[in-house]
């Protein structure tokens, strides 16, 4: 059974008909067309599907779209600034923290949530902040360096 709902994503309201059991990830990608958010494990393990819900990171694969009504959803498409890539995106490129890129949107969303709430995290706090995101390419060192660099620049 589908129901018409409104979801606020990256500051815009989208009216969509969703199956009431559908996850937020599927609605973002298929109904709204924002494909930056990825499906990895579909099991809350890998973090590729990470979005912000009212500013907090949430695995969108394991969150019902119906529950996002009235909340503010931010995806990777919502973090770019008017003049292009944001600081975290640039830093990941410059530090070489991207290889295949599949984990990168989720990684950036978790890092954003961390830095929004704690602009000067310790290395341990960065590790914990990114602990719900798996990367199978980089070995994490360059991702950690990229986030550390943005934190130190603030």
């Amino acid at each position: 059974m589908t129901e018409p709902i409104t979801l606020n994503v990256n500051g815009m309201d989208y009216s969509v008909d969703v199956d009431t059991g559908r996850n937020l990830l599927g609605v973002l990608r298929t109904e709204i067309g924002l494909t930056g958010t990825k499906e990895g494990c579909d099991d809350s393990e890998c973090g590729a599907c990470m979005v912000l819900l009212d500013g907090q990171p949430v695995n969108s694969c394991s969150y019902l779209a119906m529950q996002a009504q009235g909340r503010s959803v931010t995806t990777i498409e919502g973090v770019m600034s008017a003049d292009g890539l944001d600081a975290l995106q640039r830093s990941l490129l410059e530090e070489g923290g991207v290889q295949c890129g599949f984990c990168t949107p989720g990684m950036i969303m978790s890092a954003h949530a961390l830095l929004d709430h704690n602009p000067s995290p310790t290395e341990e706090e960065i590790r914990i902040g990114l602990s719900g995101n798996l990367c199978r390419c980089t070995g994490y060192a360059k991702i950690l360096a990229a986030v550390t660099r943005v934190a130190s620049d603030d």
Partner: protein
Amino acid sequence: MSFTIAESVDEALAALAAGARPVAGGTDLVVGTRQGKADLPPSLVAIDRIEELDHIESGEHGTRIGATVTHSRLTVEPTIVSDYTALADAAALVGSPSTRNIGTLGGNIMNASPAMDTGAPLMVLGAVVQLRSAGGSRAVELSDLWTGPGQTSATADELCVAIEIPSRPERSGSAYVRLEYRRAMEIAVVGAAASVTLADDGTIVDGAVALTAVAPTIIEVGSAGTSMTGLLPDAAAAVIASAASDVARPISDLRGSESYRRHTVGVMATRAVDAAARRAAGEEISVPVNRAIGVGASR
């Protein structure tokens, strides 16, 4: 499938009476449907916007934690960190930051996994669960709540609305430690919680120990209180290992054999008693103990 968002407890209870199942963060419910455990229930009522369920209140007799308080909040709430530290230790180990942000204490308890992290701490702290239905309310001891893996004694029309923990005596401390193979998105291989109260001479006057992932439910080491009383913490930590291993009834699976779990749960119990006693004596051990003193997975 029908889905409603409840604004009040009464609204949620009416939905439950009509056959709906509750969802708060959905971290167990939604993932469970994809692991083939069960389909989503045909009717769901979301309880995560009910303000009454989202409070932590402390008074002379103890603290009442609303069912939808998240794990993240438990790790930073001053009363929980200072008085019920084992619960903060456990909440800080659940899943990942995203799981902790939307996963709730009530959800963890009512999901009734024998490997739940918050269960053993609540048991040693003497917590009671408040259940409410359209017909009334009742308080249930944790030992009466969990009846098996994923099973509780709550009826389908009852909602967990709060968890109540009595206030702690002076010179009390608690801790939760678990064996883990990785530092995030992990489920306890085994775990142990301890609460300890010390006399002025440093001996234990009261204590409790409960175990994670070694039985169909979280279990208490029934002999812990009497066997530790009168002992100094080091001696108590030593005797609790065999007591914990003796009551454990673990299974063998991918994450650990029966004999490995039986042995390591004793080690976890020893470390939990040690950390709880050090906290009771006034030592600051940061939350979670697993990270502070290096129990479980190393980096």
